[in-house]
Subunit: 280 residues, 2 copies
């Protein structure tokens, strides 16, 4: 069943990267989108307080701030700097009214993945109390195994869940403070995906759902992601799993694309809306 | 512990793609390599009988013929054509004295992965009796999830093993006819890797071990693989797991690289030998 409208659609500011936050808010209003996930590069020119005012004045919901994470490092000073940065991200998220901070957990070339995963769990445990006190959740985003070398040692929903299960913190609403943001681009290939979505949903970990598409020929593994319908991901089926797992949040459109960033961004957003209604 | 010599080193003909099979055999002899895995494009100009003569005359061991597979297809005629092609690969493998045919199992854009996996298991079951009768084993090569769209719906050692466990055929030596070829490029990121290698070894499925490296910046996801030591894979640790699982076969060097194929192939092979002794 195609989605009937845009009521659950959210746009990541990075998807219309050439736009400022204000342009993005205006563009979303014109397109009928009522939720924006804010990336830190879009927030920076305004500062969190002003960005929050802009978002609230426009009546925008803010599913998430992107992104924190990058916990593992060879030296302790760098690990501490990452913790400090994550705490700032949590503060900014609270200020702009974002429900969660998305975590790209990090990986260090040459560091064994089990050690990176240990440092990731340690880092999340270190910042979770601050998130808990700030009323902000933390969402681990498992990244495609193609990014395991230098971006995220957490490659699957299962790995993310095993970390969530180590974290005792609960918000005032009773939900776990540390959960998962599932991006179809990163997890679509996994034969455990349907089961892991069900488990994450049942345990209250499923916080975010990101959509784009996996193109068969990618000119670049980072900035050539597909618009929904351009690739091979059965997004609607995965959305069905997510909804049956109890997820009622936004379907967040997050597309890195050098190609689309060169377009007129209003036209690009029109194409996104059409693709969202047809393929999400 | 670095490897002391080249006695367990094998070269894939595709690694020195510009060379004919005869040039590859001569190059290996000069470099002190005594085993060659033959790709079908290298075999074609000679035919299997002549290729087998060349390999035997040089005293070359032949771990594998690359490659069969590509089982799933939307229409039955294409699936049948794939089975016929796989049987020819088995015949050629027997003729050149290759121990196994490596299977890249296939995937079809738009076909749900579970259906592709069902067709893969069906295809392997269809050709396994012929492999069994021919004294040739079949080695499923799990491919990196980056290839799940159009190349292989089998992305992990575990998925490959679950297919192996459905296959009852045993060779005259008592070993399963259907097993696994583990390529570090495809499986290094997997948190189940060490365990799955142990299981595959104990159950007699571990047939092949391929080495190269995962470069952090790849200009092309197919033909920009790294020489051992150029990337982030801890190859020696994985080789240790493979050996503790009872594997006594060859460490097969399989590198697709537009860059290295442009080099003088004798110099390239010298670099391979040095990297093999330092990093495998």
């Amino acid at each position: 069943m195609a989605l009937p409208d845009l009521s659950r659609c959210a746009l990541h500011t990075i998807t219309t990267k050439p736009w400022s936050l204000e342009q993005c808010v205006a563009g979303c209003q014109q397109a009928g989108i009522n939720a924006i996930t804010v990336w830190r590069n879009a927030l920076e020119p305004y500062g969190a307080r002003r960005a929050g005012e802009i978002l609230r004045a426009a009546g925008m919901r803010v599913p998430a701030l992107c992104r924190g994470g990058f916990f593992p490092a060879v030296d302790a000073a760098k690990r501490q700097a990452a913790l400090d940065d994550n705490r700032r991200a949590i503060d900014d998220a609270a200020t702009i009214g974002a429900e969660m901070v998305v975590l790209v957990c990090g990986a260090v070339p040459g560091m064994p993945l089990p050690e990176a995963r240990r440092q990731i769990a340690e880092g999340i445990a270190a910042i979770a109390p601050h998130a808990c006190a700030s009323g902000v959740r933390l969402a681990i985003e498992p990244m495609h195994p193609a990014y395991a070398g230098d971006c995220s040692a957490i490659s699957t929903m299962r790995q993310a869940r095993l970390i969530c299960e180590q974290m005792p913190w609960r918000g005032r609403d009773g939900y776990p403070v540390v959960g998962i943001a599932a991006d179809v681009y990163h997890v679509w290939w996994d034969d455990a995906l349907e089961d892991e979505i069900a488990i994450a949903g049942a345990k209250g970990y499923l916080q975010g759902f990101h959509v784009c598409d996996w193109k068969l020929a990618q000119s670049d593994l980072l900035n050539d992601r597909g618009l929904m319908g351009e690739g091979c991901i059965d997004i609607a089926t995965i959305r069905g799993w997510v909804e049956r797992a109890g997820f009622t949040g936004f379907n967040e459109v997050e597309i890195f694309s050098d190609r689309y960033w060169q377009m007129d961004q209003s036209e690009w957003l029109q194409r996104i809306v059409a693709a969202y209604l047809a393929h999400v």
